[in-house]
Subunit: 316 residues, 2 copies
């Protein structure tokens, strides 16, 4: 029997923990790395051990799944002190370009700009380390049961070698292209649209509420009509229950829509609806809802949305 | 055996014809009224006869389904020369409010403002004619097979009497309230959201296309991810086929989003994303796509969307 693929997961937030737990349950050899003791404890409770640095994890793993929050953290775990690039297994770029050493493949799953993605890929290549640009979608629940989506860009041969672990991570693996950055572009376009659909859905539901319609019934009608969208149904169902416990913190989609709008502006492309959504997200952060679920956009638009109607004053 | 309910349909556009044909096929007695000879011919080909005026239709019918384009046309068919209100069966408002004559119930299915809807209801009541505020959703295909949605406001007793024909017209009948205008409010909120989701979807797909991503693959990824919406999947599938034959002409959703934004403004409520969508729709009309399918919004945003890539010049 072949020994199991060794997978290191760097960044044990909700997504990272879910992906690590999923692979651990499917009998991969899994170790993690996170700077936060609480994250390390969470992994330990799931039976998953931790390394003391990304470099140490890189000395062991066949595949490194990077799920940290943003490009700055990726910079750190790849090229900072104790970073992946300092691993002894890293190769050197040779003239004919094929000295990959035997370092693990680095799979970048965070949502970052395609420019950052391409630059990380280039710099890792200079250390003889192969990169997959592989943003993911679907949230922690789907990550935990292996039914999330991966938008994948990178060398086809490497993708082919990792076929089985990719399909264990995600039920939908979209191979976008061999150009590092195309995965990030795809993810940002999708997330900008999700962000617009969410803020638009909140705008519509708040409008109906303020016009005196029943919130729950309006929600039901929209879900059965032409205004339906995936994120409207998912997030506004929570808002109607007054449940803003974070499955997806508001600051995350705020960041993603900001990255998408910047990417478009950098290419000279207007995104008027993306800009409008970004203003709503920024107002949501300014209102103090950064760490609540992104369903909280509706409280920014309609502060009375979850307020019970006043009873008539009693006369005693 | 009970004689079948007599249903008159006024306004034989795509929706009106589909609804009339559906009821005719279900053995209701159906007649129609339209000013356009082509519409009368289309009904005749489906085996459905026509009256020469709304008034004449009102002398015969138990239920009048009004599916004309806008409030001005409703004004005309109800109160103009030969209008429904001049029908001999109309009653008079009595002090105790129960003289409904034996005029047919008027069911207003057009998408209009709630203010217009309420005013038509009040004026019809003065003629002893009962009104249902009953905008519909789902498009001609669903109207034809009786699987569309009705958002219904009006007197519960009248709704109860018409229960069976309502369920033959639509698979989803949402009873909103007894207040005429609440159906219109619900419809406008839904359609504003559909309009935003559509223009946002076009903005996102055009962004990806201009950034060099494959249009079809990006569409597939979005449909499987958090950016998915009903109208994105429906309309952008057509845009990808370069198919702008009108199932829903661009001017219709333009009108609806305009009505929704006006309704909100009238109540002092901001709709920044609705405003943004309305600008895209107006640009679509200005670009000459008024009578094309509303999927044409994407050609307004990205004029190269359906242009084949230039081949390298030949050297002969």
């Amino acid at each position: 029997m072949q020994s199991p693929l060794k997978v290191g997961v760097i960044g044990i937030g909700a997504m990272g923990l879910a992906m690590a737990t999923n692979l651990h349950g499917k009998r991969y050899a899994v170790q993690i790395r996170d700077v936060a003791p609480a994250a390390v404890s969470a992994a330990a409770r799931a039976g998953i051990g931790a390394c003391d640095s990304p470099r140490e994890l890189a000395e062991w793993a066949d595949l490194l799944v990077v799920v940290v929050v943003n490009a700055k953290q990726i910079e750190d775990v790849l090229f900072g002190v104790g970073g992946v690039s300092h691993c002894s297994r890293a190769g050197k770029r040779s003239d004919h370009g094929d000295d990959q050493g035997n370092a693990p493949v680095v799979m970048l799953c965070s949502t970052i700009s395609p420019i950052d993605s391409a630059q990380f890929g280039q710099r890792l290549a200079e250390h003889g380390i192969a990169t997959l640009d592989a943003p993911v979608s679907g949230g922690p629940v789907r990550a935990a049961n292996g039914t999330m989506t991966i938008m994948l860009a990178g060398d086809k041969r490497i993708v082919g070698r990792l076929d089985s672990v990719l399909n264990d991570l995600a039920s939908k693996v979209f191979f976008i292209s061999e150009t590092i950055g195309d995965g990030a572009k795809t993810k940002l376009v999708n997330n900008m649209l999700a962000g617009i659909n969410l803020t638009a859905g909140a705008e519509a539901l708040a409008l109906g509420h303020r016009l005196g319609l029943d919130r729950q019934q309006l929600f039901d009608v929209i879900c059965a009509s032409s205004g339906a969208s995936w994120i409207f149904e998912d997030r506004m169902a929570r808002a109607l229950r007054d449940d803003y416990a974070p499955r997806a913190q508001a600051h995350i989609l705020t960041k993603d829509v900001g990255l998408a709008v910047d990417m478009a502006a950098g290419a000279g492309i207007d995104t008027p609806l993306g800009d409008g959504a970004l203003r709503v997200f920024k107002a949501t952060i300014a209102a103090g809802f950064s760490d609540e679920d992104d369903a909280a956009v509706i409280k920014t638009i309609d502060p009375d949305f979850n307020r019970k109607k006043q009873r008539a004053p009693s006369h005693d």
